[in-house]
């Protein structure tokens, strides 16, 4: 019987379709058709106020996003670009509400078709609260995240495809979309090409060598402190963690002074005794050596602390079993300790690499990326991120800075993807630890 009724009402005249259609035309109308008057009116009010307040803004924003302005000195390309991106985000929120309106109208209509009574207003509100609760919790953070983290990244992404630099800047000039020109220049124009490749290579060397050194040293020290024969463990640990506890910018500036060739203690007090003078700040090679040593000093305590925590959780029966089988110390280390420690800390170790890749502070505070190099517009110790900083705030090459940022982003994303797979693999192992 019920089946027959449904068949007769199939097609466009079926209530669920009518309700959906009405909501497509005017958000809230479908709800009113469903006799959910209050909800319908609220949605209608939200729609109207959204359109009244945002229509103009979004209209200009989207137009600006495509054209970047048409009248020089009157249209400000950067502000238009920003407005365009904000419009996109607001539009996305609007579409989400619109989609909710459609799904909701259809769901209520289906409930009515099946003869379920409409919930009372109170019940409806409490349902809404239950369903919406996680969204309310997330909303403040989400809005901040979108405007403070995501929007700037989108803006950077957009800049990479414009011709925004010192000589072509609003409000005097209009900007243009130039598609991949900046990226092409980066590998074609000599000065950019040379700089990019030397900075890029050094960034990779820096990331790999400095991070690996700090991990190896941290691991080695953790092993030594963990040795049963060692006493005063607490004191030793506290001293070893000291470089982590001192704010990094303080330590880096101290090192910068220590390595200073005229008054720094390393040349004046230590190396002078062997009659050696090393140009720590003015020779690229020695500056790089100094940077790697300083980063090792700064970074090993974190790894050391991490490993110390994990080492204590290695089940001792595993070692006892190995002893029974006559395992050597080296075998125990290779087959029990290292896998256990790496397994538990891999995501954090990978993060260490990512952090050093973007370790602006040490490069800039130690020597501001100097010494300068002939035929390049980056200093001898600049890594990608400090080069971007210089391009942005010193020479106002915004477009190139943005293009390089995108390349860095792609690299970091590849790294992130690797980490995803690693963590996924951990989960499949069933959380052994």
């Amino acid at each position: 019987m019920a089946n027959n009724q449904n068949e007769r009402k199939a097609g466009i005249s079926q209530p669920r379709n009518i309700a959906t259609l009405l909501s497509i035309l005017v958000p809230g109308l479908g709800q009113i058709y469903n006799r959910r008057i209050v909800k319908g009116i609220i949605l209608l009010i939200i729609t109207i106020s959204f359109l009244v307040t945002m229509w103009n803004y979004i209209d200009i924003g989207i137009w600006g996003l495509f054209t970047l302005g048409t009248i020089p000195q009157e249209h400000h390309s950067i502000q238009l670009l920003l407005q365009g991106l904000i419009s996109l985000i607001v539009l996305a929120f609007g579409i989400a509400i619109y989609a909710y309106n459609l799904i909701d109208a259809r769901k209520d209509a289906i409930a009515r078709e099946e003869g379920r009574p409409n919930p009372t207003f109170i019940k409806g509100m409490s349902n809404f609260y239950d369903k919406g609760f996680p969204y309310f919790m997330i909303l403040p953070g989400l809005i901040m995240l979108v405007f403070i983290v995501v929007l700037p990244l989108l803006f950077m992404l957009a800049l990479a495809f414009t011709d925004y630099n010192q000589y072509n800047a609003p409000p005097r000039n209009l900007l243009n979309w130039v598609s991949f020109d900046n990226f092409v220049n980066l590998v074609n124009v000599d000065i950019w090409k040379d700089t990019f490749f030397s900075v890029f290579t050094w960034t990779i060397v820096w990331t790999v060598v400095a991070t690996t050194l700090q991990i190896v040293l941290g691991f080695f020290l953790a092993l030594l402190v963990n040795d049963k024969r060692i006493k005063f463990k607490r004191t030793i640990r506290t001293v070893l963690i000291l470089p982590w506890a001192v704010p990094a910018f303080v330590s880096i500036l101290i090192f910068s002074a220590l390595f200073n060739p005229t008054f720094g203690a390393i040349n004046r007090d230590l190396l002078a005794q062997f009659e050696i003078m090393i140009p720590w700040l003015s020779d690229p090679f020695w500056a790089k050596v100094a940077l790697i040593m300083i980063q090792t000093w700064l970074g090993f305590p974190f790894v050391f602390a991490l490993f110390t925590g994990v080492l204590q959780s290695v089940p001792s029966d595993m070692y006892e079993a190995a002893d029974v089988d006559g395992g050597t110390r080296w075998q125990k280390l290779r087959h029990i300790t290292v896998p256990h420690v790496l397994f538990a800390t891999a995501p954090l170790l990978i993060m260490q690499y990512a952090q050093n890749f973007n370790n602006f502070n040490i490069i800039y505070l130690f020597n501001e990326g100097n010494p300068p190099v002939r035929g390049q517009n980056a200093g001898g110790t600049d890594i990608l991120i400090s080069w971007v900083y210089k391009l942005t705030f010193e020479t106002n090459n915004y477009n190139m800075a943005a293009a390089i940022t995108i390349i860095m982003g792609v690299l970091v994303m590849g790294f992130a993807f690797y980490q995803f797979r690693k963590t996924a693999a951990f989960k499949e192992e069933g959380g052994r630890y």
Partner: protein
């Protein structure tokens, strides 16, 4: 034979201690050197001594009493941002983490991926945009603008960390409370928050210390000396005339490093356990 093994072990232990001793010197020397520099009279680095003949506290006195010194204002600014940043980040991240840990909703999975991805992008990557954005809403050279950036930027990493910790709190607890009639917020307030105190302490500590240590964002956002934070102020101290201001810088730096290092050493155990439990189980 056994005698032999014993001496071998003894030699080994001696070498281990020797290695620690070398490490202690490497760790201690730069810090000790900075302390001694701050006790040198005058501001000319060329005539400083590791053990000055007449050590003095004049630089410390200068920081606090000289009318040209903004040190106390910088300290106040840093404290202001640090406290609000710690409090604000706890509220924001714990709400997000609660939703992601305990509720199923549309977009949950992608939200988690987004957090993981965004924590790889430092705020630095969007610095041009941030600067222009703050300019448009009139918050450049403002501590509030800086605070806003810190609060937004910490979300991906900390939400992930706290969510990982929330996941380790048994679900049976909140289900039992639900049966007793507790609402969403009540469960959050009476069950989740008290049990998650260790990780919340970690988040608070990280976000309290960040403004003391960060130098780049303040440099981009803040321009007038009365708005500087400590890190930025001290950097500018020595940036212009490095060799002439280092002794003063050393005094100022030690006064920041000391409290931070103390708090840090006292809380390190919680820090590490929080990090490992939050991040590896994420």
């Amino acid at each position: 034979m056994s005698m032999n093994r014993k001496t071998k072990s003894k030699i080994e232990v001696t070498f281990i201690y020797l290695f620690f001793l070398i490490m202690f010197v490497i760790i201690g020397y730069p810090l000790f050197w900075a302390v001694m520099m701050s006790l040198n009279p005058g501001t000319n680095m060329l005539v400083t001594d590791l053990f000055p003949d007449n050590p003095t506290l004049e630089h410390y006195k200068w920081l606090f009493t000289d009318p040209k010194s903004d040190y106390l204002i910088w300290y106040k600014n840093s404290l202001f941002i640090a406290i609000l940043n710690a409090a604000g980040s706890i509220v924001i991240t714990s709400l997000i983490a609660y939703a992601f840990s305990r509720y199923k909703f549309v977009g949950r999975k992608y939200g988690l991926y987004m957090f993981l991805l965004l924590q790889m992008f430092p705020a630095l990557m969007g610095m041009v945009a941030l600067y222009i954005l703050l300019n448009t809403i009139g918050l450049t050279d403002s501590l509030w603008g800086l605070l806003l950036i810190y609060l937004g930027g910490q979300i991906p990493f900390n939400a992930w960390l706290v969510k990982g910790y929330f996941d380790t709190i048994p679900k049976e607890l909140d289900e039992a409370a639900k049966i007793d009639g507790a609402g969403h917020l009540k469960i959050f307030w009476t069950i989740m928050l008290p049990l998650a105190k260790p990780i919340l302490a970690v988040v608070a500590l990280f976000n309290f210390m960040a403004p003391f240590m960060d130098f780049l964002l303040p440099r981009i956002v803040l321009t007038s000396p009365e708005n500087f934070t400590l890190a930025l102020g001290l950097f500018n101290f020595i940036n212009d005339q490095f060799s002439t201001n280092f002794t003063r810088f050393a005094a100022g730096a030690i006064l920041i490093a000391l409290p931070i290092a103390l708090v840090f050493l006292l809380l390190q155990r919680y820090l590490i356990s929080g990090l490992t439990s939050g991040a590896t189980k994420g």
